[in-house]
């Protein structure tokens, strides 16, 4: 129900120092998911699940970060989104009611909606879960990347790779792996030679977002039981006082007020 950080799951490591912006990954994604060609300038949309964000010579491949504890999945009232064992956060259209809470809640503004359709779907990268990852193949985007700028593998192994690169070339890399801690950790990791804040990466909090609401929701059983008992008790006490008052005033006989056995007031 509540997928905890499984460091054993798969992940993607995108190294911005190696990306040449050829868009092979973008096109591979389009092809495998049968999406219409990208428009330029590009951005994430219901039909573009990954794109190259070009900022002054830095090519940044954007996509769903596949959070370890995803806000989108936590807010969905019908559990249409969920984090699988593989690491992919996937979507089941047949459950979705279209409330778009996932769009609102995702800290990275990833899920997109098919606004122009009569029966719209939520769309985002699903890590090629059905077509490739669940069959033991790597996602289309990482498979095609000619420079190896975006890699697929076990999350903990990719973390080792990333740490090693920073260690080997401290003069190039900023000493930060984006996605280790952001939003409680993500399954898509980034390495960069330019500080992440300058590249439009959100400085997300490190506690998982779902905890914010869960800290409140988990009190519900207490509220219900204490509240219910409290109200019943309040009613009982006040009601009894009023009866006693009425008996004392002679409006009611004791028997009428408290039944045959006549408990002592």
């Amino acid at each position: 129900m509540h997928p905890q950080s499984n460091s054993e799951g798969y992940a993607i490591l995108t190294d911005l120092t190696k990306c040449i912006g050829c868009e092979a990954c973008v096109q591979a994604c389009k092809t495998i998911n049968e999406l219409p060609p990208a428009e330029h300038p590009s951005k994430l949309s219901a039909t573009t699940w990954t794109y190259i964000d070009r900022r002054e010579g830095v090519n940044i491949r954007r996509q769903c970060l596949h959070c370890l504890d995803p806000a989108c999945a936590s807010v969905c009232p019908v559990a249409a989104l969920h984090k699988t064992e593989t690491g992919a956060v996937i979507y089941d259209f047949n459950r979705c009611i279209g409330c778009r809470y996932c769009l609102l809640a995702c800290p990275f503004e990833i899920p997109k909606y098919e606004w122009d359709k009569a029966l719209p779907r939520v769309q985002k990268c699903i890590l090629c879960y059905e077509k490739r990852v669940s069959k033991g193949e790597e996602p289309a985007c990482t498979a095609i990347c000619p420079t190896g700028a975006t890699l697929f593998g076990k999350r903990n192994e990719l973390l080792d790779v990333a740490r090693q690169r920073i260690k080997d070339h401290p003069e190039i890399y900023v000493n930060h792996i984006y996605g280790v801690a952001e939003a409680g950790g993500t399954s898509v990791l980034y390495l960069s030679d330019v500080p992440f804040e300058q590249l439009g990466f959100k400085t997300a909090q490190t506690t998982p977002y779902p905890q914010l609401t869960w800290n409140i929701l988990r009190h519900i059983p207490t509220v219900v039981s204490v509240g219910g008992v409290g109200m019943l008790g309040t009613w009982w006490i006040i009601h009894r006082r009023m009866l006693i008052e009425k008996v004392n005033n002679g409006e009611l006989s004791e028997e009428e007020a408290f039944g045959k056995r006549g408990e002592t007031p």
């Binding site: 120092t17 190696k18 591979a28 606004w115 800290n215 409140i216």
Partner: protein, 514 residues
């Protein structure tokens, strides 16, 4: 029966016609055609007003139910019916509004069987569904009475108390949970409104607006039908209201202070003006007004203050759901969104009016045909209207002044400085395997990415991809382009033309190996 044509009836009719047309568009063309919603702004007027405000305005139902049935304060018995009616109607309208807003209205029942206890929305869905049922049951005696159905009436009397308690519990849960909905967006909701305490603020403001609505309705129904509540009851409610508004105010400012957001209150920004509209005019002013006995005991004063509370409440919910949500895109509802929202309000008024007319909602003793009270007591006196417009006008002017001061997002000023250039230090570590064309009579051709990249000075993907060849994880062995077309400077012939690379017309055996 002849229906009189009045100004308001014509307006109502026009609104409903527009709403009907908008409804038709909504269900034939989809959300994109009738709303200004976008991926950056997924929730708009329908969630902000129809749902958040709607649920809040209906809060009188549980507040009064608790006062009358749990605290046994029988003086207020006479208002339990009108508030119950408002609640029942309100929730029916909210449920309908949700059907308009969600993309898959036919799946509205999904949360009942498809569970996600970690979702606030899931909890709200359950609470609202259950509460609607409870309200229908609580309301049923009024209908049974009308038709003299004694048996169900008796059944209802025995289960009434547990029902009321259940209703109050469910209300407490979802009124506050609507605030919890926004607790998961700390980065998006502006500091004046974001707080982990949102559920508490939503709960308290729901109670205050529930009380204000009771006062407000009593006046409206008096104007329309000569039925209303006794003044001393309303004054009693006003006293409670003062306390609740004060509690809200203290908690709100305490929260702002503790979160370090107090300075935001005193900057002149679009947000702070709206905040002052909500807190200053909608909480502080009515609190002071109702605190003054001379104002409190006058119907006009009561009505005016209640109206302020309601407007402040509406502004608050719209601030949380729309103005306070920081997005790079602005949102203003389309006419169709407005038409549907106004239609909901109109339908609410009409059904409320019909119910008051035909069911026993307001106590009848109040009507005194021989001695109608003088007109200035009715509520909507000239002074009240003037005051109201004054407030709204002042609001608009200040808002206009602050409009250009909308907080800018911090710009990424620092120039980007690269430590490496991937295009210069090219490393193709993941090139596809050689592509072998063996279907030709001319002999097998093997294409190697490596060789091609090695032979050019500044290797790039662009000359071939994606114009000539799609990037493909499983390269096709025979693309339609390979073959005769290469002699028409396509496929390999595009570059192998004698200028960019050796010509295909000359050195066949370089590629076509026997």
């Amino acid at each position: 029966m002849k229906i009189k044509i009045t100004f308001w009836r014509v307006i109502a009719l026009l609104i409903l016609l527009a709403g009907l047309y908008a409804t038709f568009l909504r269900f034939t063309r989809g959300l994109g055609a009738v709303t200004n919603l976008s991926d950056q702004f997924p929730w708009g007027l329908w969630i902000g007003f129809d749902v958040l405000v709607g649920v809040g305005l209906a809060a009188g139902g549980f507040t009064i139910a608790a006062i009358v049935h749990i605290f046994n304060i029988e003086t207020y018995e006479s208002i339990s019916r009108p508030t119950l009616l408002t609640a029942f109607l309100g929730y029916l309208l909210v449920a309908t509004a949700i059907m308009f807003d969600i993309g898959q209205p036919h799946r509205i029942w999904h949360p009942i069987i498809m569970w996600n206890p970690h979702s606030v929305m899931f909890e709200v869905a359950w609470c609202v569904t259950l509460y609607l049922t409870v309200l229908a049951l609580e309301f049923s005696p009024i209908v049974f009475e009308k038709f003299n159905l004694n048996v169900p009436l008796k059944v209802m009397r025995t289960i009434y108390l547990p029902l009321v308690i259940l209703g109050v519990l469910l209300s407490m849960l979802h009124q506050s949970s609507l605030g919890t909905v926004y607790v998961i967006v700390p980065d998006k909701l502006y500091g004046l409104w974001y707080s982990p305490m949102l559920p508490i603020f939503f709960f308290i403001s729901a109670i205050s607006v529930g009380l204000a609505m009771t006062i407000f309705e009593s006046f409206l129904s008096y104007r329309a039908f000569g039925k209303r509540l006794e003044l001393n009851i309303l004054v009693g409610l006003a006293r409670v209201l003062v306390v609740i508004l004060a509690v809200y105010l203290i908690l709100k400012f305490q929260d702002l202070r503790l979160r370090g957001n107090l300075p935001l209150v005193f900057q002149l920004t679009e947000e702070s003006v709206l905040f002052w509209g909500e807190i200053g005019l909608g909480v502080f002013l009515p609190m002071i007004l109702l605190f003054i006995p001379q104002v409190r005991v006058k119907r006009a004063g009561l009505f005016f203050s209640a109206l302020l509370v309601i407007m402040g409440f509406i502004l608050n919910r719209l601030n949380v759901s729309i103005t306070g949500m920081l997005h790079n895109e602005t949102y203003f509802p389309k006419w169709t969104e407005v038409a549907i929202t106004l239609s909901f309000v109109t339908v609410g008024f009409i059904v409320f009016a019909l119910a008051v007319k035909y069911l026993d909602i307001f106590p009848t003793e109040e009507i005194d045909p021989h001695n109608p009270p003088p007109l200035e007591q009715i509520g909507l006196s000239g002074r009240v209207i003037l005051g109201m417009w004054g407030v709204v006008l002042a609001g608009f002017i200040i808002y206009g002044l602050a409009k250009d001061n909308r907080l800018e997002h911090p710009v990424e000023a620092a120039a980007i400085e690269r430590k490496t250039d991937p295009l210069r230090e090219l490393e193709f570590t993941n090139l596809p395997a050689d592509i072998v064309y063996d279907k030709s009579d001319m002999g097998t051709v093997t294409f190697s990415h490596e060789t091609h990249l090695l032979l050019v000075d500044n290797p790039q993907c662009q000359p071939c991809h994606p114009k000539l060849y799609d990037y493909n994880i499983t390269p096709k062995q025979q693309t339609p382009l390979v073959g005769d077309v290469m002699h028409e400077s396509q496929s390999c012939g595009h570059c192998h033309n004698g200028t960019m690379a050796f010509s295909i017309e000359e050195e066949c055996t370089l590629c076509h190996v026997e």
